[in-house]
Symmetry: C2
Subunit: 191 residues, 2 copies
DNA sequence: ATTATCTATAGATCTATAGATAATGC
DNA sequence: ATTATCTATAGATCTATAGATAATGC
């Protein structure tokens, strides 16, 4: 039954990865600990040896997901710079975020678009993880904006998150694509 | 036990109002039928005589909430026009939406900011109600934009919804207010 | 006779905990 | 000896339905 410390750490890590996916897919109230642990290949009761509560796991998942977004944005900017030294870094990020791939893959996408309302309701560590992620992503945006303004970075961040959130809530694929295109246009024109 | 048709219609209406509030406050998965009916002054089992399912009620609630937003926007524009004939209608709407009042009152606020992610997961009638609301609100925005462009209207709509959603998800009130101010600035400058 | 609402329940799920087990790490 | 994981369960909640009740509306 018992595994090595190393394996236990890997198991814990896998639970966070599973939560990161299932919470985005089903919402924080849409998946239970038992199913989450089963999807991680562990049993229900084992959860509470690794995490204090469901909220604590949710906060770790949000931190991980937004950390992955930071990594992705940095990589996109690096690669874009290498491929095309005089390119348009903001366009690179915006087209990646407001893409059909992101629209159709909420379970692997930005936590803002799937978990922001849940975070607002729960507050605490989950909301703190959201705040930290916002600061980090806004910082990246500032670094590639001509004036480097924090306000402009926050506006772009919320424009991107809002457009993807509404596009997914739509019953009409054409309206969804219009929403994304409109936001891409507004962000890239407003400079 | 049985009440008149008129009273039954009033009871049904009250359940929708209760759902409109509690769903926004707690999320679609955060409140059950039994508690919702109790909050409406009725018993659990009575629900299924009035609604086919929880999803069906949720769709009616989204329709009602976004209908109220349409009413509110129309009223704000009418009143603004009466008070100041040469005023700034877009500013009126944006300042009302991106306000501290709206930030602190999700249970009476725009459905986009509280229920969009849930609608994306559920699809069906709930997502259809979201789509219809988006079209209606975008139409109002178009009517007050100088070029009347649908793209610009959709961009403004998602900018407003996104900024409020992220502002509420924040653990830091200062960051929340920065987010709202940034979006107000971006929308009103981008004309 | 119809029907709005009621009580009661099925059957499934929820978070969290208690205590057992068995392998690790000292 | 410690501890990662297990089984089992408490106690609460979930959606939905069945069948009873009693007042309305014909």
């Amino acid at each position: 039954m018992r595994v090595s410390r190393e394996q236990a750490a890997l198991n814990r890590d896998r639970v966070i990865d599973t939560g990161a996916r299932l919470f985005r897919e089903k919402g924080l109230d849409g998946i239970g600990i038992a199913d989450l642990m089963k999807a991680s290949g562990l049993t229900h009761g084992g959860f509470y040896g690794q995490f204090e509560s469901k909220d604590a796991l949710a906060a770790e998942c949000v931190t991980r997901v937004l950390g992955k977004s930071v990594e992705r944005w940095r990589r996109l900017l690096e690669e874009g710079l290498l491929e095309e030294p005089g390119g348009d870094p903001l366009r690179t990020l915006v087209e990646d975020y407001l893409s059909a791939r992101h629209l159709n893959g909420p379970e692997t996408g930005c936590a803002f678009t799937t978990l922001a309302a849940d975070a607002a309701r729960r507050g605490g560590a989950v909301a703190q993880a959201m705040s930290d992620g916002m600061e980090a992503l806004a910082g990246i945006l500032r670094s590639i904006l001509p004036d480097g303004g924090r306000g402009r970075a926050l506006a772009i961040l919320s424009q991107m998150a809002g457009a993807m959130t509404l596009a997914r809530a739509t019953a009409d694929p054409a309206l969804a694509e219009e929403m994304l295109a409109a936001a891409r246009g507004a962000i890239l024109a407003g400079r």
